[in-house]
């Protein structure tokens, strides 16, 4: 399993993701520059957090036109594992690879804090190592992470079980008080219908070692690394 971590101008979580892949999980790692035109044989591509292209115009709006994004779209079409974290989630929505959009937090504040996430899908390559209805403790760090989708899209996501993570209280109850940003239905992460493109606002790469106060994020990285279902990349 070879991981590729995409670097745009303004990306800031690339080294954190790379560190977890390389130093903690021990998987093969390469960085992918936004101007690259091939994915160097990666099985899983991570779009990390940050402010790609300064988030000018809208978060993710310019990044989606990077030369590498065309390759990434084709990669996802072939079934390759694509994982957008924070700014990466915003890029995936702007690129139309996931439905909906991330808008300004309801509080207008930049929120940097621990959250609890209810895991609603454990049959995915990203969450295979999570227990059924697991509650993960993973931090967020964003100003524009409020998930929005029109009613039809939202009900389609719910009906098809595409909501992977929901903000919850520490005991796993999905309540308004546990929602840090005003996301509809407490949504923290969604997957596409095929199950190979995941977008999430919380940062698993920031809680993959005990020194950082938690290791729940490691479950997701290990799920992908140990993914027995060989990815269908041709």
């Amino acid at each position: 399993m070879k991981f590729g971590v995409v670097v745009f101008p303004g990306t800031w979580s690339d080294r954190d993701c790379g560190w977890v892949v390389d130093q903690v999980v021990g998987a093969e790692l390469t960085y992918l520059w936004h101007k690259d035109t091939d994915l160097k044989g990666c099985d899983c591509v991570i779009l990390p957090g940050g402010f790609a292209y300064g988030d000018y115009l809208r978060t993710g709006a310019i990044a989606r036109f990077a030369p590498l994004m065309e390759q990434i779209g084709e990669f996802a079409d072939r079934g390759g594992l694509l994982w957008g974290i924070c700014n990466g989630f915003q890029v995936l929505c702007e690129a139309g690879l996931l439905p909906g959009a991330l808008i300004r937090n309801a509080s207008l504040e930049y929120r940097c804090e621990w959250t609890s996430l209810l895991v609603e899908r454990t049959d995915l390559p990203f969450t295979a190592k999570c227990a059924d209805r697991d509650v993960l403790r993973i931090p967020i760090s964003h100003g524009e992470g409020s998930y929005f989708a029109d009613p039809a899209t939202l009900s389609r996501l719910e009906q098809r079980g595409q909501v992977v993570f929901r903000y919850c209280d520490p005991s796993g109850r999905v309540v308004p008080a546990a929602n840090p940003n005003g996301s509809m239905h407490n949504i923290a992460g969604i997957v596409n219908a095929r199950g190979n493109v995941l977008g999430m606002m919380p940062h698993p790469e920031r809680c993959a070692e005990a020194e950082l106060g938690g290791t729940d994020g490691l479950k997701l990285f290990r799920s992908v690394a140990d993914n027995a279902l060989k990815v269908l990349v041709s």
């Binding site: 115009l57 439905p99 309801a106 509080s107 409020s146 929005f148 989708a149």
Partner: protein
């Protein structure tokens, strides 16, 4: 030719910025303010003299980049250089 593009959050999208500005205006005594929506104003200068062509191109720019149709509406008008201020 200059296109004056206005991008606003859709009515169904929460606009916490607008809400905060509304509260600010209320605290200044502007009690008659019933709603505020905060959007963006974008000026695009175009090297073209055909208004018809400019309209089509700006429409496409809005759809493909300047606005996100999931959360935003857009509208624009066109003015000749030097007439817009």
């Amino acid at each position: 030719m200059i296109a004056r593009v206005i991008v606003t959050p859709k009515a169904v999208v929460n606009d916490p910025q607008g809400l905060t500005v509304k509260q600010g205006l209320a605290s200044l005594g502007f009690r008659e303010v019933s709603d505020v929506r905060v959007g963006k104003y974008i000026e695009v200068s175009l090297d073209t003299s055909s208004e018809h062509e400019a309209r089509q191109r700006v429409e496409e720019m809005c759809r493909r980049l300047l606005a996100n149709h999931v959360i935003e509406d857009f509208r624009f008008d066109l003015v000749r250089d030097g007439q817009h201020r």
